[in-house]
C-alpha cells in the first residue's frame, strides 16, 4: 500500500482502518499526521451535523398518527383514545412554553431568528431570481415590481407564529437581513435589540422589517422594497 491508496481509503471511511492501512500508517509519518487531521475533521463534522431536534417532535408525530387513525378506524378508537389525550396534553404543554417566545416583541423575535440561522449570512452570491420568487409565491405574495438586486438568501421562514420570507442583502458594510411578513401588520418603528438595529414598516399586505448592525442603508432599502411590493414610486418612502 502506498500513501495515495492509504489516503483514498481513509478519505472514504475515516473510522475504518484495515490491517494493511494500519501497517502503512505505522511506517509513514506523513500519513500518520494525515490520519490525525482526518479524525479531527470527522469529529467536527459529526458535531456540526447534530442540529437541535425540535422539542416535542415525537409527541407531535404520535399525535398526528393517533388523530389520523381515529378518522379511518372508528371502531378501534376507544382502545387508544388515551394516547391521543396524552399526546394532546403534551403538545399543549409544549405550546405553552413556546408562547413565551412567540409573543415577544417583533424586533426581539427577528434578532433571535437571525441568531439561530447564522448560515444565512455566509454567502454573498446573489441568488437566481426564481429562487427568491419561490418563497414569496409560497407565502401567497404577488410582487408589484421586480425585486431589488443582490439578494443572497431567501427562505420562507416562520417567525414566531407568523410566516415570513427571510432574506439577506449583502451590502459592502455588512449584511442587511430583510424579513417580509405578508400577513402581519406592525406599526412603523425603529428599535435596537442586542446591538442590532431593526426597522419595521407596514408595507404591501403586511410588514417589512430590516435588521442590520447599523441603519445607513435602511432608507434606501425601504424605498426599494416599497417599489417591489407596492409598485409605487420609490421617492417618497413612508409618505402617504
Amino acid at each position: 500500500m502506498n500513501c495515495l491508496d492509504y489516503r483514498r481509503q481513509l478519505g472514504a471511511d475515516p473510522r475504518r482502518e484495515t490491517p494493511e492501512m494500519q501497517e502503512h500508517r505505522r511506517g509513514c509519518a506523513g500519513c500518520a499526521a494525515h490520519q490525525a487531521r482526518s479524525l479531527g475533521f470527522e469529529l467536527a463534522l459529526k458535531r456540526s451535523l447534530q442540529v437541535a431536534v425540535p422539542d416535542g417532535l415525537a409527541e407531535r408525530i404520535l399525535l398526528a398518527q393517533a388523530t389520523g387513525e381515529r378518522g379511518t378506524r372508528t371502531r378501534r378508537r376507544r382502545r387508544w383514545g388515551w394516547l391521543a389525550a396524552a399526546a394532546v396534553l403534551v403538545a399543549a404543554l409544549g405550546v405553552g412554553l413556546q408562547q413565551l417566545q412567540l409573543f415577544a416583541p417583533l424586533a426581539r423575535q427577528l434578532v433571535v431568528h437571525l441568531q439561530h440561522e447564522p448560515e444565512a449570512l455566509l454567502t454573498h452570491v446573489p441568488l437566481p431570481v426564481a429562487e427568491i420568487e419561490r418563497p414569496f409565491a409560497q407565502r401567497g405574495v404577488v410582487l408589484a415590481a421586480p425585486l431589488p438586486a443582490g439578494i443572497s438568501y431567501a427562505q420562507p421562514c416562520p417567525v414566531g407564529t407568523m410566516g415570513s420570507v427571510h432574506m439577506v442583502m449583502p451590502e459592502p458594510e455588512g449584511p442587511v437581513t430583510v424579513f417580509f411578513l405578508p400577513t402581519h401588520r406592525e406599526r412603523r418603528g425603529d428599535y435596537v435589540d442586542q446591538g442590532m438595529h431593526v426597522r419595521a414598516v407596514p408595507m404591501g399586505t403586511g410588514t417589512l422589517a430590516l435588521v442590520a448592525a447599523d441603519t445607513r442603508h435602511f432608507d434606501a432599502l425601504e424605498a426599494g422594497w416599497r417599489y417591489s411590493l407596492e409598485g409605487t414610486a420609490a421617492t417618497a418612502a413612508g409618505a402617504p
Binding site: A12, R16, F41, A44, K46, L49, W82, V159
Partner: protein
C-alpha cells in the same frame, strides 16, 4: 384496556428514531420546518406499512429509505404548500459556545452547499452510521462508486471550508 403491539412497536420506533430522522431530513432539505414535515410524513407512512418491517435492526435504514423517497416526492411536486407549517422554529443553538457556533455554522453552510450526490452518502455514513456496503445498497450504487463519492465529498467539504476561512489549513 391495552395498546396493540403494533401501536407499541410504532411508539418505540418514533421515540428511538425521530431525532436521527429529523436531522437526516434537515440535511437533505436545509429547512427546519420542512424537515419536521418530512419526518412526520415518514413516520405516518411507516405506520401504514409497519407490517413490512421484520427486524427492528433494520428499522433505521427502512425509515431513511422512506424519508428519502418522501423528500424526492416533495421536490417533484412543484409547489409545496407551506401555509400551515409556519409555527415552530425551535432551535436551541444558543446552548453552544460562540466559537462552536462559529465553526459549526461554517461546516453547516458548507454541508448545504455540497451537491446532493456527495451530501447523501456522507450523511448516511456520518449521521446514519452505515457502512459503505449499506450505503451502496441504499443508493443503488456499487461499493467502489460510493467509496469514491465519499472521498470526494470530504475533499469538497474541506475545500469549501478552506475557501471560506481564507488562511485555514485544509
Amino acid at each position: 384496556m391495552q395498546v396493540s403491539s403494533r401501536q407499541r412497536q410504532f411508539d418505540a420506533l418514533v421515540r428511538a428514531h425521530n431525532g436521527d430522522l429529523y436531522r437526516y431530513a434537515y440535511w437533505l432539505c436545509g429547512d427546519a420546518a420542512l424537515a419536521q414535515d418530512l419526518t412526520q410524513e415518514t413516520f405516518l407512512r411507516a405506520w401504514r406499512s409497519l407490517d413490512a418491517l421484520r427486524e427492528t435492526d433494520a428499522a433505521k435504514a427502512w425509515l431513511i429509505t422512506i424519508l428519502r423517497r418522501e423528500h424526492a416526492r416533495l421536490y417533484e411536486r412543484k409547489s409545496f404548500d407551506t401555509t400551515d407549517i409556519g409555527e415552530l422554529d425551535l432551535d436551541d443553538r444558543d446552548s453552544l459556545s460562540p466559537e462552536q457556533l462559529g465553526e459549526d455554522s461554517l461546516v453547516r453552510a458548507a454541508m448545504l452547499q455540497l451537491e446532493p450526490k456527495y451530501r447523501e452518502p456522507l450523511l448516511l455514513q456520518v449521521l446514519g452510521g452505515f457502512s459503505c456496503e449499506e450505503i451502496a445498497r441504499e443508493l443503488g450504487l456499487g461499493a467502489a462508486a460510493v467509496m469514491t463519492q465519499l472521498f470526494r465529498a470530504r475533499q469538497k467539504l474541506k475545500h469549501l471550508l478552506g475557501a471560506g476561512r481564507g488562511e485555514a489549513s485544509a
